[in-house]
Each structure stands twice: as structure tokens, then as C-alpha cells.
Amino acid sequence: MMAKRRALWLVLPAFLGALLVLPAAAQTSEPTDDQVNAIAKNLYCPVCENVPLDVCPTQACAQWRATIRQMLAEGRSQEEIQQYFVEQYGARVLAAPPAVGLNWLVYVIPPLAFAAGGFVLLRAFRNWRRAATTQAATTPVQPEDPYVARLEEELRRRD
């Protein structure tokens, strides 16, 4: 917690700086909170790990929301605003990494692993079935002694 707070103080000036850098355009219409939150929902600030921006109670995140509001008032689109934050703070502000470079692996590995698992399972199914049919063909079914079967079953259950 201590470290987190310290980091917050380090990052705070950066936020404020970002606010100053923004072109102060004339505000046309005041965006609603819901419009701001709709964009903030998909953004994460680098300090509050895993808390989406729309619900994060820290001061720093309130500043980010103010930035979004201002940019919306200037008529910027959602993509432009997201792009602005990515340029300022890196791709980590996005809820999921963009599928470029190494990040590509994020989206490829799980389906590949699943497909591989499915393939292994399918092959195992086939082998088992083949074994079952050959066994059925070669060995005539021995009528098992019901007494022995019951005894075996009882022994298995004893624990």
C-alpha cells in the first residue's frame, strides 16, 4: 500500500501536466457522466492495478476522467481519446492488449492450446475404441463368475 501511494504521488504531476498540454478548446456542449464513464470503463490507470477507470475512487483517476470529459467536449471520438492515453502512458491503459507484436500471443495461445487438447483427446478416444473393438473381436467374452465379481466389488468398496 505504501509503495502504491508513493507511486501515486509520482504519477500525479504527470496527470496534471497532461491536462495542461491538452489544447484548451472552446467547449461546445458539456458531456454527461455516462458518456465519460462509457470510455473510462475500458481504461486502466497505471497506478490502480486492475481497477477500471470509471469506478476508481482515487484523485488521480478523477483527473483522468476530467481529461476524458474535456476531450469529449472538444468533440474527440472514443478512439481518439483512447489513442491519446495510449500515447501518453503506453498500451497498458487498455483493458486488453492490442494484437500487435508479442501481444499477438495473448489471443493465439489459448485457442491453440485448446485445439491441441482436443486433438489429443480425439486421438485417445480413437485408440480406446480401436482397442475395445479388437479386444471384443479376438477374445470371446468369458461369462464372469458372479460370485467372483461380487467379491471383487466388495473388496474394492472396502475402505
Binding site: 469506478v55 492488449p97 507484436g101 487438447g117 483427446l121 461380487r150
Partner: protein, 690 residues
């Protein structure tokens, strides 16, 4: 003084655990029963010794001995006694101590079972549990000692050490920093111990599995012994996860209960592999198949338990740097890696002994469907693991951090969850061994046809989201199949034994608790699915800044902002609380009190929602901000969470089902069983059908 006693008892337990592991291995290899017996005594001794250590810590916490660094960091004068006790698991070193305490308790419980019955397995169980305990205690004793005290040097610098370093004086702070405010919640009092109990009890089935591999007793004996341990572990883990969700919903103030946070996922992963294991051991018990796979699953679960324990407390996932700076990070990974490699090496050595006894009869047999279930659970596990680990990989190789958040997990696991629900509907009606399309179809068509009514009706009532329609159809299908199973079984008993239907149902469930407990769990899952689909797909929200007396509308709900008050509390908080009236369809239905607590000591705000809760939905109000002069305005965020209470109700049913399945059977008396066997045998010999 107390700190010294505590630390000394931990050192002693560490040594005893090492001795126990060594003696058990030596005794087993050299066939020296007296040495094994001595190891068993060592095992039994760990719990009382650990209890001395843990009680010392609790005493220090309760009496506020702030010269002990841990006490100063997690308690404060303002905290009530019950919170001081729970501060035992409020920080990293305390949690490790608590974990070790639970581990010793479970290990001792194994030591108390009838030793003669599994003479060859038990020494190796001692080895595995004691090595695990010694590892955690080693962390506590050498790296994360909760008993270290604060010392001040002449130049004012503060040191931490157990014994007084030269040239220092004891530093006794007047007050501590207090527990992290997020953890000051009744949910937090029980949530971590439940998770830890779940984690620790999964060590026992793993220990028996390893014992089976070492001794070559590769039949299903180890599975039969640990069946109940596994269920108990799973019960605690499920309970911990559900309570954690409830805590998040009540305290974290973001309108949800599960945020796909790495720490949540760390606790979720052993649950996933454990659930796969619970299902797949049934195949081994019934059909003698999948012996390798069960071993792999339990080894995986153990590794994930250690991984999860480590992650939930260390915050290591935030960065590669945090990991490399921590003394215990590399050790943890070393331990996980070592146990994993050794386990797999043992498994490979016994590979040929573990060949299956049976073949797969049909793709529709229950074992085939259980295998698909395993594929799906492991698929979800892979998604979770990859999502948690990828930010670290990215940072390591490219130097940039990325966030892998809820959209990734939701999209990747959504179809897998749907697949699991579908299997949950089909598998109970398929049989072990051979099942044909015809048989299965005959059993399935009625519940299937009835369940289709649900999406049709929902569609006519205005639900157009196809994913929601599919989800509700699946939930209806599983629910109907499960109820149909109860009905079929009870009806059969009713007809055959002319019992009344409720009595037939009761006896049916009593006779096969594991099966019907499992079905109750499935019903719980269906209820939870209703709630999850409700909140995930139909949650609506709005936010607005209101002056007193003004209104904000969300769907059929309207809230008015009545008043706001602010005050300091004796426990170091500043509370800002709003009074909000809630109207539904124009009628006043109640008042809620969303508030923001600000903790002075930790400078941390907490947003506590005001919730109007019914079975149908929750109206969830957050106080997001306010003007300096409160009458001018306050900002509220509103959530409408349809059906969310089914998540908690379903959770309750889920837990009840697990209790039914795990409830101990009466111990069979060997003598009586023998006579029964003889009687039945003679009946068979006499040609009577039994």
C-alpha cells in the same frame, strides 16, 4: 518475551518437520517400522508446536505489542479485538504463519487416522506433508519472520531484528498503522481462512498420490482414501471464492463481484483443476481408466495451490521487478518447479503400471463426456494462467507492461462455460460404458423440449440478446435434467418399495450422497448461472450530479438525493454519508445510505454502496463525489443488477450440495461386512437373484 517464545516454537516446528520427513523416508526405505512410528510422532507434534507459535502471534496482536513490526503494521489502537485476531492473516508474514498452522493441523489429522490400514502409503504422506510444511516454515523462519521487533539506532535509523542489535534502543510506537481498510469487513474475516483451508487440504490428496507413485500402489486406493479430503478441500475453496465475491460486491464499490483480478484468478485456478480432478477420479473409480491423467491433475492442483498462496499475498504480479526484489519470490518458484519436476519424474517411472484397465465403449458414455468436461475445465485454466502470466512475459521480453483485463477473460472463457453447462445437462443421463444415441435421446428429449420453452418465452417478452437466450436455455436444460434425475430415482423407489415420494427422495439421496450431492451442486451452479447472466448481460448504469431534492432515473427506478452528512469516527475514519430515497415504478420502496469512508492513517478512501435488494434485482447506489457545500450537489453512480441475488442463493445451494456429498459415511464394521458378503455369496451360490 512472547515474541521469542513464538519464534522459538516456529524454529522447533521447522526442525521437527524436517526430522519427520527424513525419518519417514528412511523408515520406509529401510523397512524400519519404529523409525516410521517416530516420524508419525513428529508429524503429530507439529500441530501443538505451531499452535504455540500462532497463539503467541495472536496474543501480541490482541494486546497491541507495537514493538513487534508485524503488529504495528497491521493493527492499531482503534481496532476491535476480533479484527486484531484476523490481522493474523492481514499481512504476508502473518499469512504464511497461518498457512503453516493449518498445514500442520491437516497433517496431524492424517497422522491420527488408523495407521495400520495403509502402512505402506502413510510414511510417504508424512514425507510430502512435512516437506511442504517445512518449506512454508522455512519462509517464515528465515525470510518473513513475523516476530521481528523494531529497534532505533542512535542516529534515529530504524532497524528490524528479533534480538537487540548493538547500539540500539527498543522502539515502541504508541499506535500501529492498522489493518488495510479493505480488509476490515466481516467477509474478510472468513474469506482468507476458507481459501487457505481449501489450499491446505488439497495437499493431502497430493501427498497420497505421491505416496502411491513411490510405493507402486497404483490402483485406486489413494483416490478412495482421499475422496473426502478432496471434497472438503473443494468445499472450502468454493466457499472462499463465493465469500470473496460477496465481499467485493459489498466493499469494493464497483457494482460487481468478480473483476478477473490476478489475485482472484490465483485462487480460482486450483479450484478449476480441482473440479476437473473431482470429476475425472470418478472415471478411475468406476472404469479403472485415466490413471495418468488423475495424477497430472492432482500434481497441477498442488502446484497451483502453492502458486496461489504466494500470489494472493505478495502482489508480485504487479511487476517483474517486484518479483525479483522479493526474497521469497524466487524460492517459491524454485519450490514449485522442484516439486513439479519430481512429481512428473515419479509419474514417468510408474507410467507402465498406470495403464488403464478398460477401453472406451462409446463417445456418448459418461466417461467420454467427463473427459470433455476435463478438456473444458483445463481450457479455462489455460486461459486464466496465460492471462495472469502474460503481462510478466511482456514486461520481460519487450519492457512494456500490458493489462489483460476482463474483456479478454470473458470472451475467452464464455464459450467454454457454455460448453460445461451443456455437458452438465447431458452427462447425468448417459451411462458408464456403452451409451447409444438412441438411449440417450430417449432420456433427453423431454427435458430438452421443455427447456426450449424458456428462450421462446423470453424472446416474446423482449429479450433479444442471443447469448442471453442461449445461456438461459442451457440453465433451464440443466435444471430440468437434474430435477428429472431426482424425480426418476424417487419414483422408482416409490414404486418398488411403496415409500411416499418425499421419503423415497430422502432415502435415494441418502443412499448415494455423492451422486445426489453432486446434482444439488449442479442446481446451485444453474442458479448462479441465472444470476451471472443477469448481471453480466443486463446490468445498466448511470451517473449524475444532483442538488438536494433532485432525481436521477435508471430504468424503472428513480432515486432522490435527500441529504448528506459528514463526521469523524473514533476508529480513525471520516464518513460521508448520503441519504437517498428509492422509488420503483413511482412508488417509494425504501431509503439507502451510500457512503465514502476515508481512513486517515492509510489515506485510503472506501466506497460503500447503498443497496436495495430483492430477489428480482439490486438497485446499487454509490456516492462518487460531493461539492464542498453538500447542499449544492453530490454525484451518484447507480447500477441496476438484475438477478444478482441468485448468485448468492446458488452459492448457498452449491455449498449445501458439497456438504451432502462430503458428509462422512458411517464406518463399516469389517465383521458385519464379512457376514453380509458370506450371506450374499451363499445366496448367489443358491441360484437366487440378488
Amino acid at each position: 518475551m512472547i515474541a521469542n517464545v513464538g519464534y522459538f516454537s516456529l524454529v522447533l516446528t521447522f526442525l521437527v518437520a524436517l526430522y519427520g520427513a527424513g525419518a519417514a523416508a528412511y523408515g520406509a526405505i529401510r523397512s524400519r517400522p519404529e523409525v516410521v512410528e517416530s516420524a508419525r510422532h513428529a508429524l503429530l507434534l507439529t500441530w501443538p508446536l505451531m499452535t504455540v507459535g500462532a497463539l503467541s502471534m495472536i496474543l501480541l496482536l490482541v494486546t497491541g505489542q507495537y514493538q513487534v513490526e508485524y503488529v504495528a503494521s497491521v493493527t492499531s489502537n482503534a481496532m476491535p479485538v476480533y479484527l486484531r485476531v484476523t490481522a493474523l492473516w492481514g499481512g504476508q508474514s502473518g499469512s504464511l504463519l497461518f498457512w503453516s498452522w493449518l498445514m500442520s493441523a491437516f497433517a496431524s489429522a492424517v497422522g491420527l487416522r488408523k495407521w495400520a490400514r495403509d502402512r505402506e502409503l502413510l510414511p510417504w504422506v508424512v514425507v510430502v506433508t512435512m516437506i511442504t510444511l517445512a518449506f512454508f516454515l522455512g519462509m517464515v523462519v528465515f525470510f518473513e519472520n513475523p516476530f521481528v521487533r523494531l529497534w532505533q539506532m542512535a542516529d534515529g535509523q530504524v532497524l528490524t531484528a528479533l534480538f537487540q542489535p548493538a547500539g540500539t534502543t527498543a522502539l515502541v510506537p504508541l499506535d500501529g498503522q492498522g489493518l488495510n481498510p479493505l480488509l476490515r469487513h466481516p467477509g474478510m474475516v472468513i474469506h482468507p481462512p476458507m481459501l487457505y483451508l481449501g489450499f491446505v487440504s488439497f495437499v493431502i490428496p497430493y501427498a497420497f498420490a505421491m505416496a502411491a507413485l513411490v510405493t507402486g500402489r497404483t490402483d485406486d486406493r489413494w483416490i478412495r482414501i482421499t475422496r473426502r479430503w478432496t471434497l472438503v478441500a473443494w468445499l472450502f475453496l468454493s466457499l472462499g471464492l463465493i465469500l470473496g465475491g460477496r465481499w467485493a460486491y459489498d466493499v469494493l464499490g464497483w457494482g460487481g463481484y468478480w473483476g478477473w483480478d490476478p489475485v482472484e484468478i490465483a485462487a480460482f485456478m486450483p479450484w478449476l483443476s480441482g473440479t476437473a480432478f473431482l470429476h475425472s477420479v470418478m472415471i478411475q473409480e468406476k472404469r479403472g481408466m485415466l490413471k495418468h491423467w488423475n495424477m497430472v491433475l492432482i500434481v497441477l492442483t498442488y502446484a497451483l495451490v502453492i502458486f496461489g498462496t504466494f500470489l494472493t499475498r505478495s502482489g508480485i504480479l504487479s511487476s517483474v521487478h517486484a518479483f525479483s526484489q522479493s526474497a521469497i519470490g524466487p524460492l517459491f518458484f524454485g519450490f514449485i518447479g522442484l516439486t513439479f519436476v519430481v512429481s512428473l519424474a515419479l509419474l514417468i517411472r510408474r507410467w507402465d503400471d498406470l495403464r488403464g484397465e478398460n477401453q472406451l465403449g462409446s463417445m456418448l458414455s459418461r466417461e467420454a463426456l467427463f473427459l470433455l468436461n476435463n478438456l473444458l475445465f483445463v481450457g479455462i485454466l489455460v486461459v486464466c494462467f496465460w492471462g495472469v502470466i502474460f503481462p510478466l512475459i511482456s514486461e520481460l521480453f519487450t519492457g512494456t507492461k500490458v493489462t489483460v483485463g476482463p474483456p479478454f477473460y470473458e470472451r475467452a472463457t464464455g464459450p467454454l462455460w457454455a460448453g460445461l453447462l451443456l455437458l452438465m445437462g447431458i452427462a447425468p443421463l448417459s451411462a458408464w460404458g456403452r451409451t447409444s444415441w438412441k438411449n440417450l435421446g430417449r432420456a433427453l428429449w423431454l427435458p430438452f423440449a421443455l427447456s426450449l420453452l424458456v428462450p421462446v418465452v423470453l424472446h416474446f417478452r423482449g429479450v433479444t440478446l442471443w447469448a442471453a437466450l442461449l445461456g438461459y436455455w442451457l440453465a433451464a436444460f440443466v435444471g430440468l435434467v437434474t430435477l428429472y434425475e431426482f424425480w426418476r430415482g424417487a419414483l422408482a423407489r416409490h414404486r418398488r418399495n411403496s415409500e411416499s415420494l418425499p421419503l423415497a427422495l430422502w432415502r435415494l439421496a441418502g443412499r448415494n450422497r455423492r451422486r445426489y450431492g453432486g446434482y444439488v451442486i449442479h442446481l446451485g451452479v444453474v442458479m448462479m448461472a441465472l444470476g451471472i447472466i443477469g448481471i453480466e448481460m443486463f446490468q445498466t448504469e448511470t451517473q449524475g450530479t444532483l442538488a438536494q431534492g433532485q432525481q436521477l432515473t435508471l430504468g424503472r427506478y428513480v432515486m432522490t438525493y435527500d441529504s448528506l452528512a459528514q463526521w469523524d469516527t473514533p476508529d480513525g475514519r471520516n464518513v460521508t454519508r448520503a441519504v437517498v430515497s428509492v422509488y420503483r415504478a413511482g412508488r417509494l420502496v425504501g431509503e439507502v445510505y451510500p457512503r465514502r469512508d476515508y481512513y486517515y492513517a492509510s489515506q485510503q478512501p472506501m466506497t460503500i454502496p447503498g443497496v436495495r435488494s430483492t430477489l428480482e434485482d439490486d438497485f446499487y447506489v454509490l456516492l462518487v463525489g460531493w461539492e464542498p457545500i453538500a447542499a449544492q450537489g453530490a454525484t451518484f453512480k447507480l447500477y441496476h443488477n438484475p438477478l444478482v441475488n441468485f448468485v448468492w442463493l446458488g452459492g448457498l445451494v452449491f455449498i449445501v450440495g458439497t456438504l451432502v456429498a462430503a458428509w462422512p459415511d458411517r464406518e463399516p464394521e469389517p465383521v458385519r461386512r464379512k457376514t453380509v458378503l458370506r450371506r450374499e455369496a451363499s445366496a448367489t451360490a443358491g441360484g437366487k437373484a440378488t
